[in-house]
């Protein structure tokens, strides 16, 4: 599950986690390193003291040694002060000198082997931490031990370590936050070109298939995506063009011979045969037009910002179809809204839909019927007739292509209502047919209001 959908929010979220981890890890690492540094300081101090004490060993003529610590250094090792302790052992482990009141060694000699230089011993709960340094005096080896009681370690160094957290480590947190803000700014700038490409992409529609996303200035990481999208658009445009060319070529190939046939028939001597041929040609011409409309509407998309005046569309459709209605002895009228009704849609496609609805009403009702086209402000066109109506069982199938009730004899409804249905679908609308009280049918085309 992705909770953060934008790149910025993902970066912020991951960055906050990173800050959380870093603001714990970094001070901790600092603390450990500082502690290590403090320990090294202690060890060096202990070792140099061991060397200093070793240098006070003086050989005697009897083969023994004396330890002569200067008076100013003695308080360091006095038991009361308790900061350091020393002991000098001979190679056999006998204690020659010791700062301890009981004159004992700080560490047994065998303990040295365990941790080489540094050894510990627990006595009365205190932890001794010290060093043992070998020193040769008059050809004899002596071991000088210096140790410190860890419970009384040098407080200055320890203060540095313990005050590091409250005084210094807090600064990492604001620094990391500042880094976060800087990163957001950087990313917003980096993604600017991507946002521009998105806005260009939003303008691409069936009417503007030539638009391509800008590839210049897009970050290298995003460029392959933009390039791939542009290539996909190239293929789409080619498909669109192939479809457009196909319907245009087909129109030319079908309509020109029809025009020739029509002109030829028109040049015949007047008579019933000529009239019959004319009617046949008109019907064939209508079917060709409908087939072309269906072929074109198959891939027809309505631009999201397309606006059409549904009232004007209905006026034109009624104007065009009225002569046919009058010829068939029917009356036709337009009612409802008297001003513009703006719907989301393509004017010419909607015109063909309404025209086909009206034509369907004219052709499938007998003489004497009144047909009313009603356009309402809620983006609806209703075509009402008081003819025989559509049987309830046929109401769903009537919008199918070339549907006929009885395959053997029934008159085909042709493609007219299929065109209406396809146009409605392309406009995210609907078309339905219902019965009317007292007979007749109502076809309702519902559309969506134009974006304001």
């Amino acid at each position: 599950m992705i909770r953060f959908r934008s790149i910025i929010s993902r970066i912020v979220a991951l960055h906050v986690v990173a800050i959380g981890v870093t603001s714990v890890v970094v001070p901790l690492a600092f603390y450990l390193l500082l502690n290590e540094a403090a320990n090294t300081l202690h060890r060096d101090a202990l070792r140099s003291q061991a060397f200093t004490i070793g240098s006070f060993l003086r050989p005697q003529s009897d083969g023994k040694v004396t330890l002569d610590i200067p008076p100013e250094m003695r308080p360091l090792y006095s038991g009361g002060y308790g900061l350091y302790a020393y002991a000098v052992l001979d190679p056999d482990g006998h204690v020659l000198f010791s700062s301890r009141p009981d004159g004992s060694a700080l560490f047994a000699l065998d303990e040295q082997a365990i941790r080489d230089w540094y050894v510990r011993r627990r006595s009365t709960g205190a932890v001794l931490f010290g060093v043992s340094v070998a020193r040769a005096v008059a050809d004899r080896i002596y071991f000088v031990q210096v140790a410190q009681d860890l419970t009384h370690r040098d407080v200055i160094i320890d203060d540095v370590v313990s005050s590091f957290f409250p005084r210094v480590a807090w600064i990492t947190f604001p620094i990391l936050l500042l880094l976060l803000v800087i990163d957001i700014v950087i990313f917003r700038r980096a993604l600017h070109s991507v946002r521009e490409a998105s806005m260009t992409a939003a303008s691409i529609g069936p009417q503007r298939t030539d638009v391509r996303l800008p590839e210049r200035g897009v970050p290298t990481e995003v460029a392959p995506l933009v390039h791939a999208v542009n290539q996909a658009l190239d293929r789409l445009e080619a498909g669109f063009r192939a479809q457009r060319d196909f319907t245009a070529d087909m129109a030319h190939e079908l309509r020109t011979p029809l025009a020739i046939a029509r002109a030829r028939v028109d040049s015949l001597e007047p008579g019933p045969l000529r009239d019959q041929l004319r009617t046949d040609l008109v019907n064939m011409g209508r079917t060709v037009n409908q087939v072309l409309d269906i072929a074109e509407l198959e891939s027809f998309l309505v631009a999201t910002d397309a606006r059409a005046d549904l009232h004007e569309v209905c006026v034109e459709a009624v104007t065009l179809m009225a002569p046919l209605a009058v010829e068939r002895g029917q009356t036709i009228a337009l009612s409802g809204a008297s001003g513009p009704v703006w719907v989301r849609g393509h004017t010419e496609a909607l015109f063909r839909a309404v025209r086909n609805l009206v034509e369907n009403a004219i052709r499938h009702t007998p003489a004497g019927v009144s047909i009313e086209v009603e356009v309402t402000a809620d983006c609806r066109v209703r075509v009402l007739d008081d003819g025989p109506g559509v049987p309830e069982a046929d109401r769903a199938s009537i919008f199918r292509r070339f549907w006929r009730r009885d395959r053997a004899t029934g008159e085909s409804r042709g493609l007219g209502l299929a065109i209406v249905s396809r146009v409605a679908e392309a406009h995210d609308g609907s078309v339905t047919v219902e019965g009317r009280q007292g007979g007749g049918s109502v076809f309702t085309l519902r559309l969506r209001p134009a974006a304001s």
């Binding site: 245009a248 129109a251 309509r255 020109t256 002109a263 393509h346």
Partner: protein, 226 residues
């Protein structure tokens, strides 16, 4: 009246030439935009009938070329490209009329007459539909060849209907031409004159009827026999 036919289909050209000849037009024909441009540079025609699907160029190229040269010869566009995605209005840019294929010969002739009858042309003083005619100069009405005189506004209504015989004349056109900008058009003022005209034509024995297309306009159609 000479018209130039710009069409590449030889068969259609010969049929149209013949058909136009029978209706009193004499037609010259060319098959390409290039030829048409050359011919139009030297000859003056009453009208151009232009097919859009030509072998060398789109017919609209010729139309634009003519209009750029301020050639105002009326152009009637024939097209097989009557597509949903084509804006018919856009196609009409610069063209005076537009006729999708296939079309009836008499429709083409009627449209050509309408184009040539425009202001500046002396043709078409007599408008006829069915057995009703109107002399647009003398304002004289003839029904079945008998001269009648109708009141001015009824005659104006008749003229609008005759000019669009067989097609719907929008209500707005009547309002504009009858009352101009004076406004004050009662909601049924046009209906009153149409009603009177209907009665006059009926009394005079006209074989045309004026149909009301409520919400849109009026339509004059020939009365059906039987």
């Amino acid at each position: 009246m000479r018209v130039l036919l710009v069409e590449d289909n030889a068969e259609l050209v010969s049929l149209l030439t013949k058909g136009l000849g029978q209706s009193g037009f004499s037609a010259d024909s060319v098959g390409t935009v290039e030829d048409a441009i050359n011919v139009l540079a030297t000859m003056k025609y009453g009208a151009v009938v232009l097919d859009l699907g030509l072998p060398d160029e789109d017919g609209l190229v010729l139309l634009r070329d003519m209009r750029r040269k301020h050639d105002t010869t009326p152009v009637l566009v024939l097209t097989a490209r009557d597509r949903v995605s084509d804006r018919v209005t856009g196609l009409r840019e610069g063209a005076d009329d537009y006729l999708p294929k296939p079309f009836a010969m008499e429709e083409l002739v009627a449209r050509l007459h309408a184009l040539l009858r425009r202001p500046g042309n002396l043709l078409g003083r007599l408008l006829t539909f069915g057995n009703v005619s109107l002399d647009t100069e003398g304002r004289q009405v003839f029904v079945d060849n008998a001269a009648r005189t109708f009141p001015a506004r009824e005659t104006a209504v008749l003229e609008i209907l005759l000019r669009r015989g067989g097609h719907v004349a929008p209500k707005r056109v009547f309002e504009d031409q009858l009352f101009g900008l004076s406004g004050d058009v009662g909601s049924n003022a046009v209906e009153v004159y149409v009603h009177r005209l209907r009665k006059m034509l009926g009394d005079a024995g006209a074989n045309v009827r004026i149909h009301t297309v409520r919400g849109v306009g009026y339509l004059m159609a020939e009365e059906k026999r039987g």
